[in-house]
């Protein structure tokens, strides 16, 4: 069933993007495989949080370096993503722990009842890992847009100072922000509609203290916070890295070595 949809997507991407479309499709499949790998590792009993970080690193490596090549701008984007993932991780831990956002709530009782609850696996960690993985897509997206636009600014104006470069990064980030927030809002809004359909007649005070409502809101706002935080972080790192001679030489070195390997 879904195979047909995969095929339609592939054909459309090929028609519109040709080679680039194929690349896009491959990275989509790869990200999909990463999520399945994540689930597989958790089935085996690996620590859900450490595995989530590894999955995030792999996803960033592929969608940043493989799709956009190795350069100072992609290096800056990658470092930015890692820093933001760590900061949001702290926030996620705080909120899931304090607000007791657990794995399942009353509406999923039908599913939970089918299984034994003694799974010897900490579900709180699974939730934290899920939050981490669910935001990595947007964080990568914004990071790469900011750092490549900053690189563009630098190329058009090679004598630009670090502070001005940082400011232009913040400016570009501000422009992207509203569409990113919009995309995330709509991607997650149907969950809320579902929630209110389920819990008809619930009072306002019940709603804002309800487990799955807190879960939905937290997921949405943490995605928002990730996509806001990445703007200053990437701007700062790009403004340092893009102008740093040592880093530029290092990246050139890596590029040379990689092209050597490919030539052999």
């Amino acid at each position: 069933m879904n195979k047909i949809l995969f095929l339609v997507l592939l054909i459309l991407l090929l028609l519109i993007g040709r080679k680039r479309g194929l690349k896009t499709f491959i990275s989509f499949i790869f990200c999909m495989a990463l999520i399945v790998l994540y689930l597989f590792l958790m089935k085996l009993g690996a620590n859900a949080i450490i595995t989530a970080f590894i999955i995030c690193i792999l996803a960033s490596l592929v969608s940043i370096f493989l799709l956009n090549g190795i350069s100072t701008k992609t290096l800056a984007a990658f470092i930015g993503v890692m820093i933001v993932q760590v900061i949001t991780f702290v926030l996620i831990c705080f909120i899931t722990n304090r607000a007791n956002i657990g794995a399942f709530s009353e509406e999923s009782l039908g599913t939970v009842a089918c299984f034994n609850q003694g799974i010897n696996y900490n579900m709180m960690n699974v939730i934290i890992g899920m939050y981490l993985v669910s935001i990595v897509g947007t964080v990568i997206d914004t990071s790469i847009s900011v750092s490549s636009s900053m690189n563009e600014v630098l190329e058009n104006n090679p004598k630009i100072k670090e502070k001005e470069l940082y400011k232009s990064g913040m400016n570009i980030g501000g422009d992207i922000l509203s569409t990113t927030i919009n995309t995330l809002f709509f991607a997650l809004i149907s969950v809320f509609i579902g929630f209110f359909m389920w819990h008809r007649g619930m009072s306002f005070e019940q709603v804002i203290n309800y487990k799955s409502f807190a879960d939905d809101v937290a997921r949405l706002i943490i995605a928002f916070i990730g996509s806001v935080l990445i703007i200053p972080v990437t701007s700062l790192i790009s403004s340092k890295i893009l102008l740093n001679k040592k880093v530029i030489n290092f990246v050139d070195d890596v590029q040379d070595r990689i092209s050597e390997i490919f030539n052999e």
Binding site: I4, L5, L9, L12, L13, I16, G17, G21, T24, S27, C31, V36, L39, S63, R98, A99, N100, G102, F104, L109, G110, V112, F115, N116, Q117, G118, I119, M123, M124, M130, S134, T138, D141, M170, G174, L177, S178, N182, L184, F185, F186, A187, I189, I193, F196, M197, W198, R200, E205, I208, N209, Y210, K211, A214, V217, A218, I221, F224, I225, P232
Partner: protein
């Protein structure tokens, strides 16, 4: 000026946090603040892991019993699949027994202040980092939240007579018009973006609708879990597909229409083929990340259920088939919609932007 603004924001935020930490008086249900916990561990063979019993002492913070101390117990199993682990900072909603002397049980956990803190952190960050643009983004966000809330309330009031899908179809069009207007102002490129968003939405949703209708029996099996649901699940599924991709569709439409209007402004005699070529180039850059964003944001919601199933020795492929197919279908339908938006908005943007240009020349 900037510093003053910053200080004002911080003061309001702190005041708001202090308020939500002391909002017990707003609640009718009695709230118990935990003061001490004694935990007893037992091996439970029936479940197969450790079960903890918590003996909790606490103080009531509101209502008739305010200030009185009570005791109660709570149990949770180690994996925390469904239970809550109560900690010293937790506040509980409790229910009193008929004779009003002791606590019958826990009815819920007070989570409002943490939601408020998260919201305040987000608003502060967006204002500090993005300034005026942040204000615009927030306004557009809150307008969208307001529209959604209004639509849900409207539906609740006339539940038997309102068609959920039709309602949200109208709401989706309102979303498109309001979000694009607020963030881009009134201009030709906004008009082009609005028209192309709506047409893309109609076409991509129409295709998804057709696809689901043709395969209804197979999809019906995936939604078995929801049969007991109290609402019209089929229509809810359509609403999910309709709305999840809407943000991405608007994003692509506005990117294409502003890029094209910029190109036309710079070179009024630019021909259609050149426009189509550069429009395609620009959209290729955004489409890859957009599709991955959809995947990561929407598909990850299956994780808890799949983990519970696979840890119960269900095969991973079977679990994905059982609990992941529906989510995957929604993601894929949206991705297809996103890709389709590119040619549609190229066509419509050129139609709208070029036509007006020609008129001006004459």
């Amino acid at each position: 000026m900037k510093k003053i603004g910053l200080i004002v924001i911080l003061i309001i935020s702190i005041a708001a946090i202090v308020f939500v930490y002391n909002d017990y008086f707003l609640y009718k249900n009695p709230i118990l603040k935990v003061t001490s916990i004694k935990t007893i561990v037992e091996d439970n063979d029936a479940i197969g892991e450790k079960v903890y019993t918590q003996h909790i002492k606490g103080i009531i913070k509101n209502g008739r019993h305010r200030g009185k101390k009570y005791e109660l117990t709570n149990t949770y199993s180690e994996s925390l699949v469904y239970d809550d682990k109560i900690e010293n900072h937790t506040e509980l909603f409790v229910e009193f027994s008929v004779d009003d002397n002791e606590i019958n049980g826990i009815t819920g956990i007070k989570r409002d202040k943490y939601i408020a803190i998260l919201l305040i952190i987000f608003i502060d960050l967006i204002l500090i980092i993005a300034g005026n643009k942040g204000v615009k983004t927030l306004i557009s966000l809150f307008v969208n939240i307001g529209i959604t809330a209004g639509a849900i309330l409207l539906f609740m009031k006339n539940i038997t007579t309102t068609n959920l899908l039709l309602l949200f179809f109208i709401v989706a069009i309102i979303f498109v018009v309001s979000s694009l207007f607020i963030t881009n102002g009134k201009s030709k490129k906004t008009l082009a973006a609005i028209v192309s968003s709506i047409v893309s939405l109609l076409i991509s949703f129409g295709l998804s609708f057709l696809f689901i209708k043709l395969n209804e029996e197979k999809i019906f099996i995936w939604t078995m879990d929801y049969i007991e649901a109290v609402f019209d699940y089929n229509n809810y599924l359509y609403v999910c597909i309709l709305l999840s991709g809407l943000g991405a569709i608007m994003d692509i439409s506005i990117t294409i229409s502003s890029a094209l209007s910029e190109l036309i402004r710079k070179n009024k005699k630019i021909d259609r083929l050149a426009l189509i070529k550069s429009g395609k180039e620009i959209s290729k850059d955004i489409i890859g990340t957009m599709i991955n964003v959809m995947l990561f944001t929407c598909y990850t919601s299956i994780i808890p259920t799949v983990v519970l199933a696979t840890r119960n020795n269900m095969n991973l492929i079977t679990a994905l088939d059982f609990y992941g197919n529906l989510e995957l279908m929604i993601v894929l339908c949206n991705c297809i919609g996103i890709v389709l938006t590119i040619p549609i908005s190229l066509f419509i943007s050129i139609l709208i932007l070029k036509k007006k240009e020609v008129k001006k020349d004459e």
